[in-house]
Symmetry: C2
Subunit: 447 residues, 2 copies
């Protein structure tokens, strides 16, 4: 009889798991449950449709529902799983009753942290997540004059720019002293924020959310903060992503310090018949074995493939993460890998710093952009422990490289002597990564 692989969640992790299971065992009976109307769209694209960089929501759909039928994956849409019975290896599905599994993959994603303030039930509070909801909110954005974004994390950064592009008077409040304050170094943030000022965005740092204010008819009319009240007719609530762990917790599966499901290197949970992947679980950081949670869709998808393959009898391993990251922020791209100065300082980790401001093409070639690179390395060995960057192009590719460089133990000496492509339209004489490394080596000698 075909083995039954059940996946809870239809996001990148869940669909990665379904595909991973089918790849290992094409005869497996693979069922995916999702509470939503759709699978296989890119929620990461929503802010850019709001900002009119992408012309329509339809573009965000990656595959037709028929594609999953053709792949032999049985997707149950708008279907909630209400509990897991580990002893009997069953789940309870609303409207379907009890469903058995041989292997279960939990990929229930994230929920936004509850802001925990009065007024959370008002109309006009937008939690960016589901595409059908986003389509409705997008129509409403045409009528919005003034908006407040709560928290300048990754989603908040994208939404701030999107609203400003939309011509909406945009404010952002955040308890940190600058954007992405728990991750981003202040010298990088400063440049981003200059470009926000150019876009007309008003920033309220070191500012705590106290409540949402009723406009008198049940909709939001303002945001109450530690710095006073900001009038508005829409709020984007972009609080931290937390693991959507309710099902796992209720089932008694082990949960880590971040609230994420604990998994081993095969993505298996504390129950040998249950795997987890994506935002619902936590993953050790490669530098320091810190548990991390709330990574990217790319991580979720890759974890899903491993979890699904193993759930179907495979033996794949998911490595510790070094988290190359990157995004557009204002008119810049920002990115990095592993630790910047803020994270290293918070962990009490000593480091040598190498910094360079370079350019992306020959100085005289049209479209040339600034590229600033900061490299952090372990004193003595000069082994790379992280990087942060801001620039106009090539940030994602450099972040990918530096993520591998941290993972493989490359040093500033390795990077200082790297060769680089020099061709006026695509690369400058001196690669900023190499110059930053040379400066770091010099700094370590004069220290």
């Amino acid at each position: 009889m075909a083995q039954r692989v059940v996946v809870i969640g239809g996001g990148g992790g869940g669909l990665g798991a379904a595909g991973g299971a089918k790849a290992v065992d094409p005869s497996a009976q693979v069922t995916v449950y999702t509470e939503y109307e759709d699978v296989a769209y890119s929620p990461c694209g929503i802010p850019f449709v709001h900002g009119k960089e992408i012309p329509s929501f339809e573009a965000l759909f990656l595959a037709e529902k028929q594609a999953y039928v053709d792949a032999g994956i049985d997707v149950h849409y708008e279907t909630r799983v209400s509990s897991i019975d580990r002893a009997n290896r069953t789940i309870t599905v609303d409207g379907e009753g009890t469903v058995g599994y041989d292997s279960l993959v939990i990929s229930t994603g994230f929920v936004y942290a509850d802001p925990g303030v009065p007024g959370a039930g008002l109309d006009g509070l937008y939690y960016v997540k589901n595409i059908r909801d986003a389509m409705e909110w997008d129509k409403r954005l045409d009528t919005v004059k003034k908006a407040v974004v709560v928290e300048a994390g990754p989603l908040g950064i994208e939404m701030v720019t999107a609203l400003a592009h939309r011509g909406i008077e945009t404010h952002v409040i955040d308890p940190n002293p600058w954007c992405l304050g728990e991750l981003l170094d202040p010298d990088i943030a400063e440049v981003v924020q200059e470009s926000w000022t150019e876009l007309g965005i008003t920033m309220h740092w070191n500012t705590t959310l106290l409540g949402f204010v009723d406009n008198g008819s049940g909709s939001v009319g303002g945001v109450s903060t530690s710095g006073g009240t900001i009038d508005c007719d829409l709020v984007v609530v972009a609080t931290h992503k937390q693991p959507n762990n309710a099902l796992a917790v209720a089932a008694g599966i082990a949960i880590g310090t971040t609230g994420g499901v604990i998994v081993d290197e095969t993505m298996k949970t504390s129950d040998p018949s249950i795997w987890a992947c994506g935002d619902v679980c936590e993953i050790p950081h490669g530098n320091a074995s810190l548990p991390l949670q709330g990574l990217t869709g790319s991580h979720a998808y890759a974890q899903g493939k491993v979890a699904g393959a193993n759930a179907a009898g495979g033996s794949r391993v998911y490595n510790s993460v070094y988290i190359p990251w990157g995004m557009v922020a204002g008119k810049w791209m920002i990115g990095g890998a592993a630790f910047g100065e803020v994270a290293a300082d918070a962990l009490g980790m000593p480091y040598v710093l190498g910094v360079a401001e370079g350019i992306s093409r020959a100085r005289y070639y049209p479209g040339v952009k600034k590229v600033k690179v900061k490299l952090l390395a372990e004193p003595g060995t000069l082994r790379l422990i992280g990087a942060q960057m801001i620039g106009g192009e090539g940030i994602k590719e450099r972040a990918d490289f530096l993520g591998v460089a941290v993972k493989k133990g490359l040093t500033l000496f390795d990077l200082a002597t790297m060769e680089n492509v020099y061709s006026p339209p695509i690369g400058a004489l001196n690669e900023p990564i190499a110059v930053a490394a040379q400066n770091g080596v010099a700094a370590s000698r004069s220290a």
Copy 2:
């Protein structure tokens, strides 16, 4: 008394050497001799001014002559060095007589290979090199109707596109079966050449140059080839770059199989008081210790800094090269590192191949471009031995990464499990390098 460091050549290598010497010994008396009117401009930018991508030649100048005066570097312009007397440590300088040195750096660059056919003395044969000449040729291009580019090497590829952008009917002849035939894999070349066809360029492959045809008044009126005569009113002679080794040969300095000056890892020649750098010397390839010659301006500059530093008493090392490379070709960027299939086949080197066609941003994000990645790895270990790529963006940064990956011995396993940035405007869910590596691992298992 201050040591006398003499540099012959004012290109990237020579100026790198002058700066490298001053950095090690600020009191050194550093003199640079150049036959040209200028130093510190970017000859690599010339094709792009011809193609009107860059508005003027003035943009190509990197520094004022005063900058070298201020740095204590004495540049003698339009001054030819006619011989080196190693026994007495002197050189003979036209118009200056005998000049002594403590350390000498030879950075005399390249000459184009003599096409060795009749008609080489005609007017209308353009060898792209000197910026003052280029300014004159650029005016002439306004009157040119039809041009032939001889050889589709790196410069030929850039000039073909530049002439077509200029509205000139452009032909290219080359003895190889496709462009960059000794380096580029045919599947990559095919895509480039499709875009040349779109640009209206006529290609003549497997075609040997037989002579330049006189138009009856001492100017070129056509190119005689193994495939017939092509009428034209201008020829760009883009033959191979050969080491400009005449001074070194006459002085009895050891020369290698490529014609380049042999240097050790400190860039020292067979004479312990003489260093060399840039296109005049040959450098061992890291994969196979093959000597290579005719690399990039970035290599020349880096070699110059090492040669100059050591000439002034320093102790720096220049590593073997793995040659990340990249350029614009037609409407694409092409690039790679170390060996592609053509080079590996020519060397009889076995390899596992991993190929992926991916994209540079989210599929739905405006400006998304194709990125094709080919990875070659040693059978068994799957250690990376090279890469080739074609795409619309991010080729230079990926080539730099893969050059380091080859040098540091990374494997397809390492690249298959690399993390990558996923953010719709700047990076796709799946990085093409990772997918190519995954495909290579799969190919090695089914082999």
